[in-house]
Amino acid sequence: MEVLTQTIVNGIVLASIYILVALGFALIFSVMQVLNFAHGAIYMAGAYVCYFWGTTFGLPPWAAIVMSAVVLAVFGMLLERFCFRILEKDFNRTLMFALALIVMLQTAADVTVGAYVKRVPSVLPGLIRIGGSITMSKERIIACVIAVFLLLAVTLLIKKTLLGRQMRGVAQDRDAASLHGINVHRIAGIAFGLSAGLAAVAGGLMGSIISLNTYMGDAMLVKAITLVIIAGMGSLGGLLVSGLIVGFIDAVLPIFIGGAGSEVVAFACAIVILLIRPSGLFGQET
């Protein structure tokens, strides 16, 4: 019974964090047509910056997360302004730049703080008891809550506000949008900042749940891509479903399948879905 509950909750926790990362990846892709392979590295950087604020500057955990989100958001905007904007419309060079970014960020983390075992101080340590026997870690729950809250906020931002409408406009047709007087670059910058910020928050939250390491981004990047592909490019609702699918695969399958078998299953699913519905489960047919 408690095993079941814990597993289900954990599935939701993982899902919410995956979605947080994937959302940023999808955002950049749909607004800028850039496959930002460095998204995982940014997530990793977020975790480290958060650790930095939390320990070196002794900020309270929640403040550390906020600050790291801010730092990374600014970093993202700078990236957009001074790098991706220059390489615009050159797919190969954009891709290469993202890869270079991975190398740089990972090495930077490695040589600065990387070598010591560390963990982001958790926002809310301790356990809560549900009923008699079922215990759960508060930080996982809180991580999930924060993630869901952010997801709602971003969804509202995209669906309801003017900025969101402009973003969707740019995503649909860049040129038409700029003809309608939308400052495409500004939108791209904001999207990049937002995406980096979300990744940073995810990093901070995950960094308190598990231990930090400089290659934690690689796995998360693949997860994000899996989510986006299963959902279909530029489908927010889809992300929710695909996130839950992958989250539960990761939370449940390892219990039954030894070693890395669960990964094989997850990727096989992604391949099959791609082959059957290239535009993803919820993407509009092209």
Partner: protein, 402 residues
């Protein structure tokens, strides 16, 4: 367009200039030095620990040189550590070994940790008859066997910890009858599982399940769920490293497991307490070591390393001890053998029935287990993390590997 060309020209010039730098740097060399190769992961997932082993070697080399270096056949030799990054990959490991053996022409390589990295390096060092000192090894048959006479295990052996851990478990927690084992999926899980089962049987314990987690596991909940599903009285972690052990303990506690958790390995208790959360790590013990310089039970060497590490790097990490240990092994063997012929050296090493480790007196063993008498046996510590998160050295236990 033109400017672009110019700039790229400049860029190339810079690149070339950069190329020139290291060659100049590596130009000057001190006379009468003895090079010792360090084959450690400075990048990649194994670097978290092995960088500190490297640091340990560096500070020990300084120490030895301050004391006047090593004397062989009346000649004084200063030690020089040449470090190569094995990049935590098989290719990297092989490349680093090649570099050390053929370019730096070292006679000793202070080796790595992860099975496939050790094995890959062995492919190079054994044919070249270069003595390689492993920190650690996961007992996969390829790592050490009769075909690897030049490979020595100087760090504490993995199988040495299992028995003492179980003894401590049965003494301190008599109610414990069953335990489930959690270990990384690095190829050794089968061997270790069988080994533990045997040891457990001797002590009337029952091993309910062996759970193996892949190296890049991000979330340990599922694996721990699997381990706890058999309702064990205790959990026994064998092998693995702090970044994993910490979260595993954390997960187990979060899932409401209150029984004793033993790390039958040499993970740092402080790191684990940090990762698992000080408040709910206990009851937990490991064979890693206390950093309390006032503890009389710590050997003088250990205290020396702790002091020097804090002075040199501002921070002590227990992997510094491994580095110190390896270098001192080399020194002892050299002084005993009074020769640079690796065959002679290896032979002398095997015959040393008394050898000083950083953890106390030791001797050679392993002939029955591995077919070669290349394993240094000394003693393991039981170090417990107390409920308040502080770390206490409980006792030393001597061990011998036949």
């Amino acid at each position: 367009m033109r400017t672009k060309k110019v700039v790229s020209g400049v860029a190339i010039f810079l690149a070339l200039a950069l190329l020139a730098v290291p060659s100049m740097v590596s130009a000057q060399k001190a006379p009468q030095t003895l090079k010792i190769g360090v084959h450690a992961a400075l990048t990649g997932f194994a670097s978290a620990a092995e960088i500190h082993q490297r640091d340990g070697v560096l500070l020990t080399v300084d120490y030895v040189n301050q004391k006047g270096g090593v004397t062989v056949k009346g000649e004084k030799y200063l030690l020089e550590a040449v470090v190569e990054d094995n990049k935590s990959t098989a290719e990297g490991s092989k490349a680093a070994a090649e570099k050390l053996v053929y370019d730096h022409k070292v006679k000793f390589i202070l080796g790595a940790t992860i099975p496939y990295i050790n094995i890959a390096a062995g492919q190079v060092t054994e044919p070249a008859k270069v003595i390689r000192l492993l920190n650690y090894m996961c007992d996969t048959p390829e790592e050490m066997n009769t075909k690897t006479p030049y490979t020595f295990l100087t760090g504490p052996a993995i199988r040495a910890g299992i028995g003492p851990s179980m003894d401590y478990m049965t003494q301190k927690f008599p109610h414990v009858k069953t335990y489930s084992m959690i270990t990384p999926q690095d190829g050794a899980e089968g061997i270790l599982g069988a080994l533990c089962e045997k040891e457990a049987a001797k002590r009337g314990l029952k091993q309910t399940i062996v759970v193996a987690w892949p190296h890049d596991t991000t979330d340990f909940y599922p694996k721990v769920t699997q381990a706890l599903s058999t309702k064990p009285d205790a959990i026994l972690l064998v092998n693995g490293y702090e970044q994993a052990t910490g979260p595993i303990i954390k997960a187990a506690r979060e899932m409401g497991f209150k029984g004793p958790a033993a790390m039958a390995n040499y993970d740092d208790p402080y790191d684990i307490a940090t990762l698992a959360g000080k408040e709910f790590t206990a009851p937990f013990w490991t064979h890693g070591w206390s950093r309390d310089v006032n503890d009389p039970q710590l050997t003088p060497d250990m205290k020396e390393v702790i002091k020097r590490a804090q002075a040199k790097f501002g921070k002590f990490h227990q992997w510094n001890l491994w580095g110190w240990n390896e270098v001192n092994m080399v020194v002892q063997v050299l002084q005993k053998a009074q020769s640079f012929d690796t065959a002679v050296l290896a032979d002398t090493f095997r015959k040393m029935n008394k050898i000083e480790t950083v953890w106390g007196p030791g001797h050679m063993g392993g002939e029955k287990t591995y077919g070669v008498k290349n394993v240094v046996c000394s003693r393991v510590a039981i170090t417990e993390v107390l409920p308040d998160g502080s770390v206490k050295h409980v006792k030393w236990i001597d061990y011998d590997i036949p």
